[in-house]
């Protein structure tokens, strides 16, 4: 029998992730690269990289699902599914008992209610940067730190301060005021983590919090936010070893299920003729996204 392969690509606002799995759900490739303004056309490059890792060609991929903020801009995808559904599926792969999945990325925060591995309800933050990775990034920059520094620094805190400003710009000012008043850096950083965790906890509480709670996305790499989230939710929070993976993995797994289900039912599935041409970030005909 000829082996068949499935790919999931998660084009996020900050990072682009590709996962390739085979028929038995075995992970063959996983690639992450910065999306960034100048990298936006690089969906193809990331795909090529993961094909190299899996040692297969594009023609051997049976079905590709694109997800994430830029999902409509992946020309070689067969189907677009939201990151909500894909995250839920990906998280459930590692944590079958997950009931609430929280994802904090660069641009938004999401809460997903999951039952039997499937998405049943969700909440998303609005377009404001508060409560997202961007909030931390902006303030870290003010402090002359990198995002990676924040978690370990906050662990030293013994008396975290309260950061009350919702607005990222106001929070920046508040941070400066605290520092000039002599508050220790670690207490300020811990306060920031608490602010973001508090905001996200309020949002996901609408879904009713039940264990297992799983936390993913770029911000889930920050040990300080994990701790703050546990405090705010009042329950333990599980984090997968690779928190950026879940969306792309979910997409690949759904691709696999789509084909296997169709094969079992004897149906054919329409697929795209795959060619790794250059992707544009916005489709020409998509008037809504381009704002015209």
């Amino acid at each position: 029998m000829i082996p068949i392969y499935f790919a999931g690509i998660d084009l996020g606002s900050t990072m682009t992730k590709v996962v390739i799995v085979d028929e038995s759900e075995k992970l063959l490739a996983y690639v992450v690269q910065h999306t960034g303004a100048e990298h936006r056309r690089l969906a193809n490059k990331v795909m090529e990289e993961s094909l190299r890792q899996a040692v297969i060609t594009i023609d051997e991929i049976t079905y590709v699902i694109a997800t994430g903020y830029g999902r409509i801009n992946v020309p070689f995808a067969d189907k677009q599914i939201t990151e909500l559904t894909c995250h839920a599926r990906g998280v459930a792969h590692f944590f079958p008992n997950v009931r609430l999945a929280i994802d904090i990325g660069g641009q938004d925060a999401k809460g997903m209610k999951v039952k039997n591995g499937k998405l049943i309800d969700f909440v998303m933050s609005d377009k404001c940067a508060a409560g997202t990775g961007r909030y931390l990034e902006v303030v870290a920059h003010t402090l002359g730190l990198t995002l990676e520094d924040l978690g370990p620094i906050s662990l030293k805190s013994t008396r975290k301060v309260s950061i009350s400003s919702i607005c990222t710009i106001f929070a920046q000012q508040e941070v400066s005021n605290h520092l000039s008043a002599g508050v220790l850096l670690e207490d300020v950083v811990a306060g920031l983590h608490d602010a973001i965790a508090g905001r996200v906890a309020r949002m996901v509480r609408r879904l009713k919090i039940e264990p297992d709670v799983v936390f993913t996305g770029g911000v889930a790499k920050n040990i300080g936010v994990i701790k703050a989230l546990e405090e705010n939710l009042g329950c333990p929070v599980l984090v997968p070893s690779e928190p950026l993976l879940s969306g792309a993995l979910g997409a690949a797994l759904i691709a696999r299920e789509t084909i296997l289900k169709a094969q079992a039912e004897g149906k054919s599935v329409q697929t795209t003729r795959r060619k790794l041409g250059e992707a544009t970030f916005f489709k020409q005909d998509d008037g809504i996204l381009s704002g015209n």
């Binding site: 400003s165 919702i166 000012q173 508090g198 309020r202 949002m203 509480r205 609408r206």
Partner: protein
């Protein structure tokens, strides 16, 4: 060199403390009465329901006041957050959101007062009385409390014509009849609910009491025109609640407290005593609702010589003097004593020479700057603070036009401060104080402009 001992910036009125304590009593009385099985109503700040409910021995509690009390003690945050979790949009009124959060907590605790609630909390309501007066979104607020309580909701109508329609012949009489009919229906509802009849002399008592409190508050406000101004906005706010929330429940005590306050303010005027312990450099008006969580911000301004001499909200209206001895219907008496036509208000406030001009402007343009700006002229303000509330449409929507006209007509500048009545996260005190410092140059400039143009102040 002797060390200069700095006094506190505000010279607060002694008579204020007793009145302010009456407000806290509201929650204590409410809790005790509830325990004895007396019906409790949650009511809104408005002009009609309070004397009627108290005449029927219903305990009245005010969520708007309670939300501001929570905010003042910096305890509103968790209630606001709870409202967000309950699915209410965050742009809604801070009073309402804090109240929704409180209600949700109460339901969680089987109707008990949440232990984190300050001042003893608000007892669970047997009845919700909402009003479309002042802010009409409020009736949607109480309607949505049906999610938490099985208490009936009564929405008390109140006519809200724009100025021009108010002056159209027939409007005043039609609206008076509407109020009379509406209140009659309200009394029928209460009688049925409470299983007892209204005793009309009790209504006369609560009604006359609240009218007398209004008269005293109005007289006190007249005294604030003096230079230096003897009573600061913070004192006005502190005692406002006693008058508006406790006046009908305990008229004798509140009348007495206001009489004492009148005497104290009068004494200050006679002896040239100011409301601030600094030279009165700037006479200010506060436009909008109070920042309950950050009132000390006004102390910082007082320290710089800003004396807040008047304010746009909660102001008592000029008392209605009218002979109603021939009106036998107690409800009609009740309405006519409190509801004045815009036309007669203009006539009394402006006198025979200016009143026709005001009316003509309203008919032609829909508004009259003379009417809107009158208090600025009367109190000779050097500047105004416009408190733009991020969660309140009613108090924020007319402010820009007001400030334009004010500068145009009276050469008085406005300082815009963005914030909220309840939500501290929307107010930036450091930034606001910086803006205020810079604003002093603007006020100094316009003082000169007014002088050159021959203004009285």
């Amino acid at each position: 060199m002797t060390q200069e001992v700095k006094t506190r910036p505000l010279n607060r009125l002694k008579s204020m403390y007793a009145l302010r304590a009456e407000v806290d009593k509201m929650y204590q009385v409410g809790g005790e009465a509830k325990a004895k099985g007396r019906p409790v109503a949650w009511v809104m700040l408005e002009g009609w329901a309070n004397p009627i409910l108290n005449a029927m021995d219903v305990i009245t509690v005010y969520p708007e006041n309670y939300s501001s009390l929570c905010a003042a003690q910096k305890l509103a945050g968790p209630f606001l957050e709870r409202a967000e979790t309950e699915g209410y949009p965050t742009h809604l009124c801070g009073y309402a959101r804090a109240c929704v959060g409180y209600s949700a907590r109460m339901v969680e605790l089987d109707g008990q007062i949440p232990p984190e609630a300050p001042a003893g909390g608000m007892p669970r309501p047997n009845l919700l009385i909402s009003s479309a007066e002042v802010c009409d979104a409020r009736f949607k607020w109480f309607q949505s409390l049906g999610r938490y309580f099985d208490a009936p909701v009564w929405t008390l109508e109140s006519p809200s014509p724009n100025a021009r329609e108010s002056l159209t012949p027939g409007t005043y009489e039609r609206n008076t009849q509407f109020l009379i009919n509406e209140i009659r229906q309200f009394v029928v509802f209460l009688e049925k609910l409470l299983g007892k009849k209204m005793e009309w002399d009790k209504l006369d008592f609560t009604s006359d009491g609240t009218n007398e409190i209004n008269r005293l508050r109005w007289e006190i406000n007249q005294l604030r025109k003096a230079r230096p101004c003897p009573m600061h906005t913070r004192d006005f706010w502190s005692v406002m609640s006693a008058a508006l929330y406790r006046g009908a429940a305990d008229p004798t005590v509140i009348v007495d407290g206001n009489q004492k306050m009148y005497d104290e303010v009068k004494y200050r005027v006679d002896h040239g005593i100011a409301a601030i312990n600094r030279p009165e450099k700037y006479r200010m008006s506060f436009e909008g609702l109070a920042p309950w969580h950050s009132l000390s911000f006004l102390d910082d301004l007082a320290d710089r010589g800003w004396n807040f001499v008047c304010e746009s909200a909660y102001s008592p209206g000029r008392p209605v003097v009218i002979d109603l001895s021939k009106v036998s219907d107690p409800i009609e008496r009740y309405v006519r004593k409190r509801y004045r036509s815009l036309a007669s208000a203009i006539e009394i406030e402006f006198g025979p020479e200016e009143a026709p001009k005001v009316k003509e402007e309203i008919m032609r343009e829909g508004t009259s700057y003379r009417l809107r700006l009158k208090h600025i002229r009367d109190y000779q303000c050097d500047g105004v603070v416009l408190h733009v509330l991020l969660s309140c449409r009613a108090a924020s929507s007319g402010l820009s036009l007001f400030s334009d006209q004010l500068l145009d007509v009276y050469k008085v500048p406005s300082l815009i401060i963005e914030g909220d009545i309840i939500d501290t996260s929307l107010f930036n005190p450091v930034e606001s104080l910086k803006k205020a410092e810079a604003f002093e140059d603007t006020m100094d400039h316009y003082k000169k402009v007014r002088k050159n143009l021959g203004f009285e102040w």
